[in-house]
């Protein structure tokens, strides 16, 4: 089981993302996008393609846009090909924004971008922990998980989805994660439970196969028990909730 973790141009969560995959049993490598463009064939050596969080191109022209355009120009076919195979793709935070801009999720109409991630309703960057529930457990990434407590850290995390598309997203069961409140009910847009004002409290979307997951929260930052806020007052064993996502990837190939 091999994971390719993308880096370059301001992506910055590659180390911790790779670490999380390695702990659950993957072998992996951080590869600079320019090296991948030079030699796209190396994608064949990997079963998981991960785009970690970060600030590619400083979020200029919209978060994830510039990197998505770079991929589109130089790697698009190879990545589409990868996503159509029995393989897994994950985009976390900036990675999520890139996948959305590439149109790899929800990928209902097979055109560029169908959904947008716009600035948080609060108008500011939000680094805080949120609770999410799994809305689609057919995705291999999310199987057998009910809720997760994870941090978000973004300026542009508000899903904006045209109304008709939202209907098909729901009909096809493509909402991956949704923000919930302290009572485990949908946040209904209420801040800070829904940190960005996202439509229908959406925190993650998948493609139709469920093998491509684009999520705004950071599972790799909720990997160990000591990542969790106020862990000293809690009885948590070794791992935090983020671990479950990476374990699911392992189980998929096991």
């Amino acid at each position: 089981m091999n994971v390719l973790v993308l880096s370059g141009y301001g992506i910055n969560c590659e180390n911790e993302t790779l670490h999380a995959f390695e702990v659950v049993g993957f072998k992996g490598k951080i590869i600079h996008i320019n090296d991948l463009i030079q030699n796209p064939k190396q994608l064949n050596n990997y079963q998981v393609f991960a785009i970690p969080g970060g600030f590619s191109y400083g979020d200029d022209t919209g978060s994830g846009n510039a990197m998505a355009k770079k991929i589109m120009t130089n790697l698009y076919d190879q990545l589409i090909d990868f996503s159509l195979k029995d393989k897994l793709v994950i985009g976390i935070c900036n990675g999520c924004q890139i996948l959305i801009n590439l149109g790899l999720v929800p990928s209902l109409n097979k055109k560029d971008a169908e959904v947008a991630l716009i600035e948080n309703k609060s108008g500011s960057y939000e680094c805080r922990w949120v609770d999410v529930k799994v809305s689609n457990n057919k995705s291999p990434w999310l199987k057998n998980i009910s809720t997760l407590s994870l941090p978000v850290a973004h300026q542009e995390g508000q899903f904006m989805i045209p109304i008709n598309l939202l209907k098909s997203i729901k009909a096809n069961n493509l909402i991956g994660l949704q923000y919930i409140n302290h009572h485990k009910k949908l946040a209904k847009g209420q801040f800070p439970f829904n940190p960005n004002g996202s439509k229908d409290d959406i925190a993650a979307l998948t493609n139709q196969n469920g093998n491509v997951l684009a999520m705004m929260p950071h599972p790799e930052r909720a990997f160990y028990h000591y990542h969790i806020p106020n862990w000293q007052s809690k009885t948590i064993k070794k791992f935090g909730d983020g671990y479950k996502i990476f374990m699911n990837a392992k189980k998929f190939f096991a």
Partner: protein, 976 residues
């Protein structure tokens, strides 16, 4: 054909809602504009627009649709167009250019473009003027306000313009400067700069008459005139900013200067006293380093960026943080930045100070809230975009920062002890090594930054002194260095380009080999037309200088290029102790290294005892205890800084282990911790402290309090008492006045005494000596505003085990105790400022008692006797108790039946140092008593788990609801 692409968000953006809220006007819309230097045909327009917009969330304005689209939002009547002045870093434009280049490849070569923010409003002209003042800074941006009709017309007629840097096409000829002139003429060169042929002056050199005379003497000995480049270089190298002349000067009877005697002296003494030296690199490198574990070193550096932040708060602050990140990259062979710290000392953002740099209300200081907001967002963008967590910081407000804000930016880095078998903190540029400049290009930005930060802020402060950081360029460069080149051992030395630019970085690095030869024409420029001296001293950001053995040069350059980073050979290091600079083969600088670095005249400073401005007694306002607590909690210096913590990413790198917001109730903590390695549970605890409010009363005690608090906070967080190092950042004022120098000497003396007492070494430091504003108030009266002397002590410590990390939240039935005695020390406290005081003293640290408390605390904590703990600082015990309750959402009862001679208010609000509020489980009391003597603690109450805090004295019970306290504590700071 068009020369602009303008993009609009379909839905209201966060920025639009905040503007709409602020100005109570629903008809405000923002357009992202891009102005091109060439016309785009329809095909290119469509293609590029698509590349830089999102068709789900945005609309592209065209000549055809612009009127219709905009009128669907409102009937706009005014427009403000904000774009960067030519030559100012425009990061968005850089990205757009890169996207276009990558996608359109060769079909679209030479063009310029500028990003523009266009704000539309339906309202009065006054409103748009007000918005423009709050959204733009005339120092770096052009602001055009015009009617909406004109905007439509501009659109139709392609009249949006981009201004290019217009530099006269000038051919450089070597310029020699005659220094055999009158003293008056000589000092004009120092103050206003070298005279150009047209009689204009280049801008301040910050050289005093004595220094210019030293230069004259040197050149008369070598029998030639100096070139302009030589004088500029000496000005940079000898600047207060680079040489710290005041700290190294003879002062009264201290011949070696206060740095050697008190700061370095303290560290040397500590190393001598302790057998377990954990210091690795002290004072000489870009940061100070200590041992983290057997394989790793951690380094820490804190810088200030005060003057630039006064002029351009956003640019100043972002440059401050990415600049100190480079100090870390330039530590040893290159440390990876793993945490940022910040501390801002600001004027009240809710006040309008109306200060002007020139008479007749000309050249105004930026409004206090603009400065505060700009600084906060500058560090946000710098830190977040670089992928470096920013967990630790604080903000303090005082009117005396109205003329100059203090912006402290710090970075912690980590580096393996050995790289390919060699010690990583040692580096040496060898004769024959190539000088390689990597990263950004050189422009006019930041020229004279180093010389001018040593001067007071006055009308002659140059505008080109402002830089704007580009964190992404730096991140790309940093990744190549830390991940690839360093570990392959491809270079022999590295340093950053900060103050003084190449003149400083190469000058410093060449000490390792002997000297250097640089060819200035090789240096890649942002635009043509720079003079050689400008290239040499420019402080354009995001550049590192490397010494690369010739055999590795090709490989290194190739690696940089393959990661989208420019790297250029600009010269070589030589053995001969000469500094040589050439421009198109003409030698324009040739100095002895010895003179370059040591030729400046040493100062001889005298101090005198200052008049003490005693704070007048203030009648205590009559109000209930609960009411007083609310007043203090909601005061700007105590109120929660959560709004900063949540906009600074402190989780990136997945190392955050003690977060800035603590407990379910989210209290802004005074120490944080990160766990930097996946395979070692050792962690790093960080804190900082400064007490400018105590400085005028007693600078010695002020410094003692800063050290004590910064040290104590780490002990409380669980750090190993023997593995705590500290950093000093002195921000002083009027350092040419004997009474200010007296305060400086006293503060430095306290640094020695307390560091040695705690055996916590200084590992790095920096000073900024002239934080004064000279200008005019709104009536035209001349005013001088000096900051209060401020000493920021930053502390960094190693936590051996995760289980040593403490929390601030008690559990039900816990006993509450105060460690350390409480004295009547209300003078200069938050309480005295808000409520008043009668007879009191300023806080004085008793290091012997304090150390006993800390050692016992550490012992008790390791034995798991301590259940929760919080350091007592601003606002005293009362505030610490309240914070504990807010954090845990658990009620407490506090017993105020006091035995000693102290009033309730003194007990609760005195800022007596070295105290810790702790809670322990009932069944641990016996064990606790085995460690602590009865005189070392006071039991003050217990945790009830209810929803109130109760204070009981002999007569009555006073109660306040925790949720009400939390409300006061989490109030917005007015003006922000």
């Amino acid at each position: 054909m068009t020369n602009t692409i303008q993009i609009l968000s379909i839905e209201k953006t966060g920025k639009e809602s905040s503007l709409q809220k602020e100005y109570n006007n629903k008809s405000i819309k923002i357009i992202d504009g891009y102005f091109f230097s060439t016309n785009l045909d329809d095909q290119k327009f469509t293609k590029i627009s698509k590349l830089i917009s999102n068709d789900v969330s945005q609309t592209i304005l065209t000549k055809k649709n612009v009127n219709k689209v905009l009128s669907s939002y409102s009937n706009f009547n005014w427009v403000v167009e904000i774009k960067f002045l030519p030559g100012v870093t425009d990061n968005i434009a850089t990205t757009v250019k890169e996207i276009i280049k990558d996608n359109l490849k060769s079909s679209f070569k030479s063009f310029e473009l500028g990003s523009t923010k266009i704000i539309l409003i339906k309202g009065r002209k006054e409103d748009i003027t007000k918005i423009s003042k709050n959204e733009a800074n005339p120092l770096i941006q052009t602001i055009k306000i015009y009617p909406f009709k004109k905007y439509l017309n501009n659109f139709k007629k392609n009249q949006f313009k981009i201004e290019k840097v217009k530099l006269p096409k000038k051919k450089y000829s070597k310029k020699e400067i005659n220094l055999n002139i009158s003293d008056h003429q000589l000092s004009l060169i120092g103050k206003l700069g070298i005279e150009e042929n047209d009689k204009s002056r280049r801008g301040t050199l910050g050289l005093d008459l004595e220094s210019l005379k030293a230069i004259r003497n040197y050149f008369s000995t070598i029998k030639r005139k100096p070139t302009d480049v030589e004088i500029e270089t000496l000005a940079q190298t000898w600047s207060e900013h680079c040489k710290h002349k005041i700290f190294s000067a003879k002062i009264d009877d201290i011949h070696e200067g206060i740095f050697k005697k008190y700061i370095k002296g303290a560290t040397e003494k500590i190393i001598q006293l302790r057998k377990d030296n954990f210091c690795v690199s002290l004072f000489t490198d870009n940061a100070g380093g200590i041992e983290f574990n057997k394989d790793w070193i951690i380094c820490h550096k804190v810088e200030t960026h005060n003057t630039p932040s006064a002029l351009d708060p956003f640019g100043g602050a972002i440059t401050g943080i990415v600049g100190v990140n480079r100090d870390c990259l330039g530590f040893g062979k290159g440390a990876k930045p793993i945490a940022n710290t910040y501390a801002y000392y600001l004027a009240d953002p809710n006040k309008n100070y109306q200060l002007y740099r020139q008479k007749n209300n000309k050249d105004p200081m930026l409004p206090a809230n603009f400065i505060a907001k700009g600084i906060i967002s500058g560090v946000r963008v710098g830190g977040n975009c670089s992928g470096i967590p920013t967990p630790q910081g604080n903000v303090y407000f005082d009117d005396r920062f109205a003329g100059k804000p203090l912006v402290f930016c710090g970075t912690v880095g980590i580096i393996p002890k050995k790289i390919k078998g060699k010690l990583s903190h040692k580096k040496k540029a060898n004769p024959g090594d190539i000088i390689l400049m990597a990263g950004g290009r050189v422009g006019k930005d930041g020229i004279h930054g180093a010389t001018f930060s040593s001067e007071e802020l006055d009308p002659n402060s140059p505008v080109s002194a402002v830089q704007i950081g580009d964190p992404i360029t730096q991140k790309k460069m940093s990744d190549v260095i830390i991940r690839e080149l360093r570990d392959e051992n491809l270079y022999s030395s590295i340093t950053d380009n900060g103050a003084g630019g190449l003149s400083s970085s190469i000058g410093e690095m060449a000490k390792e080999s002997g000297g250097f030869i640089v060819n200035l024409e090789k240096i890649p420029l942002k635009y043509n037309g720079l003079y050689p001296w400008e290239i040499w001293v420019s402080e354009s950001q995001e550049r590192m200088t490397l010494a690369v053995p010739p055999k590795n040069v090709k490989k290194v350059i190739k690696r940089f290029n393959s990661r989208g980073v420019e790297a250029t050979i600009i010269g070589k290091f030589i053995k001969k102790e000469k500094a040589i600079v050439k421009y198109n083969k003409t030698e324009i600088l040739n100095l002895d290294m010895e003179f370059l670095h040591e030729g400046y005249p040493k100062l001889n400073l005298k101090t005198s005892f200052p008049k003490i401005k005693k704070e007048k007694k203030k009648i205590i306002k009559k109000s209930s205890l609960i009411d007083k607590l609310h007043k203090l909690l909601s005061s700007p210096n105590i109120v929660s800084k959560e709004f900063i913590a949540t906009q600074y990413d402190h989780e990136v790198q997945a190392t955050s282990i003690i977060k800035p917001l603590q407990g379910e109730g989210r209290v802004f903590g005074n120490a944080t911790a990160i766990k930097p390695l996946f395979d070692d549970e050792k962690s790093i605890a960080l804190s900082q402290a400064a007490y400018p409010q105590y400085a005028e009363t007693n600078p010695y005690d002020m410094a003692g309090c800063s050290i004590d608090t910064a040290y104590k906070n780490l002990i409380v967080s669980g750090a190993n008492l023997k593995k705590i190092a500290i950093l000093d950042n002195f921000c002083w004022c009027s350092s040419d006045e004997p009474d200010r120098l007296y305060q400086l000497k006293e503060a430095a003396k306290a640094c020695y005494d307390y560091a040695v007492a705690y055996q916590t070494p200084f590992i790095s430091g920096k000073d900024s000596m002239f934080n004064d504003f000279k200008g005019f108030d709104k009536t035209g009266k001349s005013v001088k505003i000096s900051i209060p002397p401020t000493l920021l002590i930053s502390s960094i410590g190693v936590v051996d085990k995760i289980s040593h990390l403490t929390k601030i939240t008690p559990d039900d039935d816990d006993i509450l105790l105060v460690l350390g005695a409480t004295r009547n020390e209300l003078q200069d406290s938050v309480y005295s400022k808000i409520i008043g005081y009668e007879k009191s003293k300023n806080p004085v640290v008793n290091s012997k008692n304090a150390l006993r408390t800390y050692k016992n605390f550490e012992k008790a904590n390791k034995l798991r006797i301590i259940n929760s703990a919080i350091g007592i600082d601003l606002g005293g015990l009362g505030i610490a108790v309240t914070k504990m309750a807010i954090a845990s959402k658990k009620g407490l009862t506090i017993d105020l039946k006091l035995k000693n001679q102290i009033s309730v208010d003194q007990f609760l609000f005195s800022e007596t140092q070295s105290r810790i509020l702790v809670s322990i489980k009932k069944n641990k009391l016996a064990n606790f008593k085995k460690i602590f003597k009865a005189s070392d603690y006071t039991i003050i109450g217990k945790c009830t788990g209810s929803d109130v805090i109760e204070f009981k004295d002999n007569k009555k019970i006073m109660r306040g609801k925790i949720s009400d306290f939390a409300k006061s504590y989490k109030q917005n700071i007015r003006g922000l």
